[in-house]
Amino acid sequence: MVYHPRQNWTPAGRRRLYTRRDFLQRAAVLGIAVPVLPSLLAACGDRGGSEGGELVVGTPSNPVEQPLFDDNTAIESGLEAEEGPLQLYNWADYINPDLIPVAEEALGVGIEIATFFNEEEAISRLASGEVAYDVWFPTSQRVAVAVAAGLIQPINHDYLPNLANVWPQLADPYYDQGSRYTVPYVTYTTGVAWRNDMADSADIEGQENPWDVFWNPKYAGQLGLYDSFTDTIAMALFRNGVADPSQASEADLEAAGDALVELIDLVDVRYTIDGAYVGIPEGRFALHHAWSGDLVNSQYYWPEDGDYTVTRYLWPASAEGSSVNGPISNDTLAIPVNAQRPVLAHKFLDFMLDENNALENFGWVGYQPPQINLTPAYLIENEWVADFLEPALVTPEDFERDTAWVQGPLDAETEALWSDQWTRANSGG
């Protein structure tokens, strides 16, 4: 069934902050509902819950415009900036701390950063309406959900002259044509990272299926995958030759789960979240599943007597001779619908889209901003990235490759199937 986006849809805490139901739910959480339990039960008579708006999910081959709503409009042009402090809602360590004072000076207000542990937590808190941040950093795959759930507001491009600095592919991105709600923050691919002193580059480079190196018993005890179910299940699907993990059948998923279970005995696989940027420099891993930005970052984690130049990265979607696909993605900047300082927020977005600021941020975060002038050649020439790590740099054309795959949101039913395989993969025998 397809709902009109706003039909039956009252996100908790958005339009009406205190419906009776909301109040009682909150009261129950606070524990003051014990004496009013009967009325609480009565209030739960409405079984509907939150019916979803329609998700509008785009892919590079099928770009979409996110819908606009009468009751969720962008701010007018030419407004005065509000008083600070500006409140950012970001992942931990995902903005250069040295850039904050620069931004404070440019905007003339203080900046405060609140962090979230994962995106689900961020969405939960924003949807609850209990928090009001001015700028949020969602991944591109959540943009459709954030729009349909009314979590973010449209942006007014009059405040964003620097949007012109952005790659056309992401200034007008497939997930949000016309950048109605978001501007891009950083981009990354997911591939294979290795040390060429511990692993043989020929096992990865020039291979028809570079993902298959994780199934190479030669590297038993020396390889790791991300402890992240979407990344790792998708990787196993690619390795098995599935072109689009979003369309994977139950049998595909079962086979991917089997392949991951096989890794336990075959190569003593380990699941980590820091293996790519800490484990490789420390020599804990010869090769690891890697986000390109993690690998760029890894240079700062090498011991003093270590030789950073052994680091290598390959994105199977662009590698020569490879016939398998690989993920590419980007994160975005958005303004929550209940932001208290939307004008300041726009100014901050524009600040981050400035070329110098984006470069400064890249130098610390390691994830690459999609700036037209910050080409791989420029970044290498100016020693922001070592030349042997060029494969870890993203180009705008990468988004147009047939072999590039972008992750979309998983609905709960599909996620349950992925989750089952993930539980199998990491339970051990």
Partner: protein, 308 residues
Amino acid sequence: MPTNLQSAEYDTVGQKRWVWPGFAIPGVVWLSLLFLVPFYAIFAIAMGRIDPLLSRPVPEWNPFYWDPTVFADVLASLFGGQLGVVALRTVGYVFVACALCVLIGYPVAYFVSRKAGRWRWIWLLLILAPFWINYLMRMMSWVNLLSPDGQVNQVLAAFGATNLPDWLAGHHFVVILGLVYGYIPFFILPLFAALDRIDDATLEAARDLGANNAQTFWRVTWPLSRNGVLGGLVIVMLPMFGDYYTPNLLSGSPRTRMIGNTIDQFINQTTSQGAVGAALTIVLMFFVAGLMVYYLASINRATEEARR
């Protein structure tokens, strides 16, 4: 004139009858706010629904609408399914870790409480000092010690060892050692208190009656400290069952996964499956509560025996 002492309104020491129970009110309020209500919330999530748009669990506060399917699935998986493997492994780890706690912790507590003389408080301080540092930090330092070119392997290499082991490659004993190291002071402390309470006169009496050292220990000291051991075990067992940092940091291999990792996965990764995590949490809580009841019953029995 009748004295107040006999009236129904006053108790034997002349206080109004509600005064003493009244002191329990803050505790009751505390427990209901911070235990019962959250516990109910976990039930509400385990038996609740999924928000179709945001793909996250929605608690169902009304028990009439509770949906036990997830709960049943979790139980099925625990008994004979995928989760059963993890649960069994967890129980095994905790069991071995507890045995090691007793083997290592008992002599330490015994020495400090009975043999260290006037230096005992210094000893106790020295044992506890490292544990003022956050648990996570201590596990991180183990990662440094045990990494392939870490200090442990450097020492081994200095002694001429070749073919150095990769301690962090997913070994059961490394995770178990991590658990023991992480929690053992919480075992030593209550045991120290129990051993410290033993009256020297009882030991002297045993000697006077002809018991040798071993007999004195097994027939007097051990029985008198048994509840200290049990108490210490309960205290270390509870957090061990919920631990997930230790296997994450010291191994990361699916082979060493504990039930805490699985709960963490359902709550922090596959968030739409939050209900599974909640159901698993409830099962774990009941299991641990069972152990707790055994402990309380055994304490109770000991008190009864002491009274006789």
